[in-house]
């Protein structure tokens, strides 16, 4: 099954495959002529024993023929490796493109459970294993086939007894190969998993270096790493043992056969059934067979490796994103951005509900603020709108059109989002701001940066907007990165804006400035804001307080204050000294008890 799919990918490049196979066959044929020529030469030389003389012209002719055949073989070998490599590179190129495009379009559900390191190792190591298999094994299969069958044919035709002796090690080879393949496949799969663990530990150790240092956890981390590292070593040694056993047995069997040929053939020469030259060419043929014998082990290994790599690659390529465009999905027309959540429920795993029965009516110009404890479902709610996940029940409409009936691209074009986890790309500040709109003019970029209160800072840099920033924007502070993300969303100029806790790391003064600037931007747009600070929330047209996925309270700031619920409590907490508020509200007994 997996082999069939690998073959299908290879057959996509018919011409390259054909020409590679042609070259391989030609080179093999030329290679096979050589022992015969050597044998003829030896026979010519052996005439000395019958009292004849060696004809120098014949030897010269044979030598020149050997030269000519070698030249041909050389040219064809070149073709074989060159076109073989081209073919394998072409297939790798295809898979990489497909893999990339597939992965970048998979919905968040997939990325929630697949570690970047894991996906990377598939894209690099597994694709490489694939490529090596195509180049070293698939393209060269005629080489093995032709070598085996022609040599076998020639040997049997020349002298069937000797021929059968020569081929007697084939069954040994076949059985060994089959057994080995099964074992190796399992081991390789395990090695790949061990490696994935190792890389996860390594990556997290470095990304979380501040935590590791703060907890003096270096030794703990080393122990964790050591465990995976030992597992990798052990499995690799296990694989090597199998391979060592296999190749050594093969070489042994092969040498024993040469011994037998020498014995049986020698007796037949003495009997006069065979000329010394014929025996010599038998031996030369056997020498030719030694290469494929040695390579057979490698082929088996490369197949086992490609097989497990294929399993891992196809697992990703076959993953069907749960968020799919319906057949015949329409482009969403230029919308005004009237968003409605109709009785929306959502669950990540199909069991525990994260959101339950949410109704929201957000018309253009309206600001909806979402407030609530960690895990109450705020981020989940806004992630449903651009269809990063699909609702479990209920529906979301934009201008009356169900979001599931439009194309993803046209839907997302209407939404500008500032995500909680800021991600910046290795590029200039300008390119990072213009990430969603490469055609933006410099003026527009500067305007967006102004709204995010970044323009002054950027202008203060030596290279201004051309300053390059590193991976994950590690050279910017948390607040600066959040502001980059705001500028990026503002530049999109979308009818719908989502701000997910986008100013948490910004100090109060800067936040105030951003808020004032955003007021102009938010005008006529539909805006969803998630925030903890009252100053951000209180002006919203509607404040929704979420509690464990349900709407606990909703209304304007004044209404909610008047009703004296959870929102009122937040308000008190932020405005009055904590001790006072604690006296007034009942802190859950549980927390009290836990502390004691």
């Amino acid at each position: 099954m997996i082999l069939a799919r690998i073959l299908a990918l290879t057959f996509a490049h018919k011409w390259l495959l054909a020409i590679s196979l042609l070259c391989v066959s030609g080179a093999t044929a030329a290679y096979l002529v050589l022992p015969w020529l050597f044998g003829t030469a030896i026979d010519e030389v052996a005439r000395v024993f019958d009292g004849g003389t060696v004809s120098e012209t014949v030897i010269l002719r044979i030598s020149l023929t050997i030269l000519a055949v070698s030249l041909l073989r050389g040219a064809l070998t070149f073709g074989q490796t060159y076109f073989g490599e081209r073919l394998s590179q072409a297939v790798a190129y295809d898979i990489r493109n497909r893999f990339y495009d597939h992965v970048q379009n998979l919905s968040f559900k997939f990325h929630d459970i697949h570690h970047t390191g894991n996906l990377m190792s598939r894209a690099i190591t597994d694709v490489e294993a694939f490529r090596m298999f195509i180049m070293a094994s698939l393209v060269r299969s005629p080489y093995f086939a032709i070598l085996f069958f022609t040599t076998a044919g020639i040997l049997i035709w020349r002298d069937w007894i000797l021929g059968l002796v020569a081929l007697s090690f084939m069954p040994v080879l076949a059985i060994l190969t089959a057994v080995l393949r099964l074992h190796l496949r399992r081991i390789w799969l395990r090695v790949q998993e061990d490696m994935a663990d190792l890389s996860t530990t390594l990556q997290e150790n470095m990304t979380g270096v501040r935590v590791v240092k703060a907890f003096a956890a270096e030794r703990y981390e080393e122990a964790k790493y050591e465990a995976s590292s030992t597992a990798v070593s052990d499995d690799m040694i296990r694989a090597s043992r199998l391979q060592a056993l296999n190749t050594s047995v093969m070489v042994f069997a092969y040498l024993v056969v040469i011994g037998l040929i020498l014995w049986v053939g020698g007796m037949r020469v003495i009997d006069g059934h065979l000329t010394p030259g014929e025996l010599a060419s038998f031996l030369f043929y056997m020498q030719i067979l030694s290469l494929p014998v040695q390579h057979a082990g490698m082929v088996v290994n490369s197949y086992a490796r490609a097989y497990s790599a294929g399993q891992r690659l196809f697992e990703v390529l076959d993953y069907r994103s749960p968020v799919q465009e319906t057949p015949g999905a329409r482009e969403m027309p230029k919308s005004r951005g009237h968003v409605r959540f109709n009785d929306v429920s959502f669950s990540y795993d199909g069991r525990t509900p994260t959101l339950q029965k949410i109704d929201i009516d957000a018309y253009p110009g309206k600001v909806v603020a979402l407030v609530g404890a960690p895990g109450s479902g705020k981020s989940t709610l806004v992630n449903l709108l651009p269809r990063f996940y699909d609702v479990t029940s209920g529906s979301i409409t934009v201008d009356g059109v169900d979001v599931r009936e439009t194309t993803l691209k046209s839907l997302r074009e209407h939404i500008g989002m500032v995500q909680q986890d800021v991600f910046l790309f290795t590029a200039s500040l300008r390119d990072n701001i213009a990430y969603g709109r490469e055609d933006a003019s410099m003026d527009e970029i500067v305007d967006a940066a102004r709204v995010a209160q970044l323009d002054d800072y950027i202008r203060g840099l030596d290279e201004g907007y051309d300053t390059e920033i590193g991976e994950r924007g590690s050279t910017l502070s948390g607040g600066q990165r959040q502001r980059m993300s705001i500028a990026r969303a503002v530049l999109l100029d979308p009818p719908i804006l989502i701000l997910d806790d986008s100013t948490a790391s910004v100090d109060a003064n800067t936040e105030e400035k951003i808020r004032t600037a955003m007021e102009a931007v938010m005008k006529d747009r539909t805006t969803f804001v998630i925030a903890h600070r009252l100053s951000t929330v209180h002006k919203a047209d509607e404040i929704i307080v979420l509690d464990r996925g349900r709407v606990a309270e909703r209304g304007t700031h004044e209404e909610l204050l008047a009703s004296g619920g959870a929102y009122r409590r937040i308000y008190e907490l932020q405005l009055r000294p904590q001790e006072e508020v604690m006296m007034e509200f009942d802190v859950p007994a549980e927390a009290e008890a836990a502390v004691r």
Binding site: F78, M195, S233, L245, L262, R412, S505, H532, R548
Partner: protein, 610 residues
């Protein structure tokens, strides 16, 4: 939060302490090989065994044509049946020896190789643990990853190739010797093509070197782009960049493809020449060999052996040319690995530094000045005194140096000698081991970081012997218990990729619980509650009030409610302490704090209905 100016300076200072990703093209580097030798030392016995079995293996292979020659010349042409049997018996004996040697060779080499890689990986990781935070400021994780995994993988490939290569070289020598013994004249003739081969290789090598360097550069670009776009996939989708990114990726992928094809053209270009030279050698041997046989100076069997040897002779050369890329790649990897191992940690314990004794938690900053880049001080003469058990809030506008200040306290960076000192219970922290300090302090960072593993493992972290009740109590104290219980597997729920299956606030609660389990004398909270709603924050603070009894706490926060309860408030501005006091005192002073407070309050005031 890093100060605005400070963070940019760090970028400018990247040159120092940053690993270089230059592409190397050497196929053999003496220093790299020499550096690997110590890693083989513990396996001395295995290495000798490997070498011995390799020699035996090569000898048994070189012996094969020789035995054939003996069989033909001494017995077959003489019609000696018994002699033939004996020589065949010898032949089989030789084959058995070959089998044993071959297996031993492969097994010992695999073992030695894996041990070496294991030690290298371990040393690299150990070395990385010793690096200070500033090392990680300068080096992206992806690049270090590719050294520890990618480069070690290259070395692994190299080891198998190297063994084959050494085997090849050995058999080259063995064959040359055998050929010369068989017939000096013919031997010299058959080896005559070698200078030409060397010449061809010399011409070819610079081209190959350049081509393969291009391949590696292209591959690095493709991998980098993959890595970045997969980790940033959420932004890519939100920004609708898939089509454009696919285009960009395709261009990079295309260049990678073209570079590889170009290199393969060059590497396979060598093969016809090697084939031709083989053929010329064989032709020469046949031609002159026939003459020698004609003049009875050589026997037929010897000629057969000659042809066999010559074919064997060029096989190693063929495979050497094919391994060339691998050698080159491995040397480059070796250089990068040892460069990493040679990076001196810029923050090391002083020789003979003693552990910090159990501390009470008194902290003193004495004239502390600090800069990420020379000449641009982020902290200028900071003096601060914290009594054991006090809770101190650090307040100030963006870029004041708040995060830098607490980073110094945890020794993420060290204060340079002569630029002030930080004392804990009167001990200068630079003179004590970093570990003993870190064991007694704990930190909750603005961006919560969890590890792949269960919730339980994450809360316990290094304290894996903490009983369940204590762990649950910590979770309850910070208000995390409820939501953890609601997870599918409760405390045994597996957190994927740093807990993406939890909200940021939930992750923060878990990291709070982790800090509590750590039972520190000094607790540092760096904007730890920014992503948490006020009510949950209050729960945490309530819990902390009891927990912090007798402990020292340093808190950085923007929200007033968080700050107001502190015993002492330190107002930082432009890297200097501008004011110190409690809330009321500072309000009375009517300085920067009062101003900040008013600004903050003004923002909130709008929320107060008339």
């Amino acid at each position: 939060m890093m100060s605005g100016a400070g963070s940019f300076m760090r970028q400018a200072s990247r040159d120092s302490g940053r690993l270089d990703d230059e592409v190397f093209g050497q196929a053999f580097n003496y220093r790299v090989v020499a550096r690997m030798v110590p890693y083989l030392k513990p396996d001395k016995g295995l290495v000798s065994l490997a070498v011995a079995s390799m020699l035996v293996f090569t000898a048994t292979l070189v012996a094969v044509p020789w035995l054939i020659k003996l069989a033909i010349d001494e017995f077959i042409t003489q019609g000696d049946f018994t002699g033939l049997m004996w020589i065949v018996a010898l032949f089989i004996g030789n084959a058995m020896l070959n089998w044993g040697a071959n297996f031993t060779q492969e097994m010992t080499i695999a073992r030695v190789g894996q041990n070496l890689l294991y030690r290298l990986r371990r040393d690299m990781f150990h070395h990385l643990q010793k690096q200070s935070v500033s090392f990680y400021d300068k080096n992206e994780v992806g690049r270090i990853m590719s050294r520890v995994l990618g480069d070690v993988y290259q070395l692994q490939e190299f080891l198998s190739v190297a063994v084959v290569t050494v085997g090849n070289l050995l058999s080259l020598v063995g064959i040359a010797v055998a050929v010369l013994i068989l017939s000096v004249q013919l031997g010299v003739i058959s080896l005559a093509t070698i200078p030409f081969l060397i010449l061809v290789m010399a011409v070819w090598q610079p081209f190959a070197r350049k081509a393969f360097m291009r391949v590696r550069r292209a591959a690095a670009i493709v991998n980098g782009s993959l890595n970045e776009n997969i980790s940033g996939v959420r932004v890519v989708q939100a920004m609708n960049r898939q089509e454009r990114n696919a285009e960009i990726f395709e261009t990079k992928n295309r260049e990678n493809h073209n570079a590889a094809v170009h290199a393969s053209g060059i590497s396979s270009g060598l093969l016809p020449s090697v084939d031709m030279l083989t053929a010329i050698s064989i032709g020469l041997v046949l031609f002159f060999g026939a003459r020698l046989v004609g003049s009875n100076a050589l026997e037929v069997g010897a000629l057969v052996a000659f042809v066999m040897y010559i074919q064997r002779f060029f096989d190693p050369i063929r495979s050497l040319t094919m391994q060339y890329t691998q050698l080159q790649r491995a040397m480059a990897s070796g250089i990068r690995i040892f460069e990493l191992l040679d990076t001196k940690p810029d923050l090391e314990d002083k020789p003979g530094a003693r552990d910090l004794p159990p501390i009470r938690g008194q902290i003193e900053f004495r004239d502390v000045r600090f800069s990420y880049v020379e000449g641009q001080d982020v902290l200028k003469r900071v003096n601060m005194h914290v009594l054991p058990g006090q809770t101190v809030a650090i307040v100030g506008p963006t870029g004041a140096g708040k995060t830098t200040l607490v980073s110094l306290l945890s020794r993420f960076y060290d204060v340079e000698d002569g630029r002030g000192a930080i004392l804990i219970d009167g001990h200068d922290i630079r003179n004590r081991t970093r570990e003993s300090l870190a064991r007694q302090t704990s930190m909750v960072l603005q961006e919560p970081f969890l590890f792949t593993g269960t919730v339980r493992e994450n809360i316990r972290y290094t304290h894996h012997d903490v009983p369940d009740e204590e762990m649950v109590a910590a979770a309850k104290a910070v208000g995390a218990h409820d939501f953890i219980e609601r997870l599918d597997d409760g405390y045994d729920t597996l957190l994927h990729e740093r807990g993406v299956n939890l909200s940021v606030g939930q992750r923060q609660l878990i990291s709070f619980a982790r800090a509590i389990i750590d039972d520190p004398r000094i607790l540092i909270l760096d904007e730890a509650t920014a992503n948490i709603d006020s009510y949950t924050e209050m729960l945490i603070q309530k819990a902390l009030q009891t927990l912090l009894e007798g402990r020292t706490a340093i808190v950085i926060a923007h929200r007033l409610s968080t700050i107001r309860g502190a015993d002492k408030i330190v107002v930082l501005n432009h890297g200097e302490v501008e004011e110190v006091g409690d809330h009321d005192e500072l309000m009375d002073r009517n300085g920067l704090y009062a101003h900040l407070y008013a600004m903050n309050f003004a923002a909130l005031k709008a929320a107060i209905p008339e």
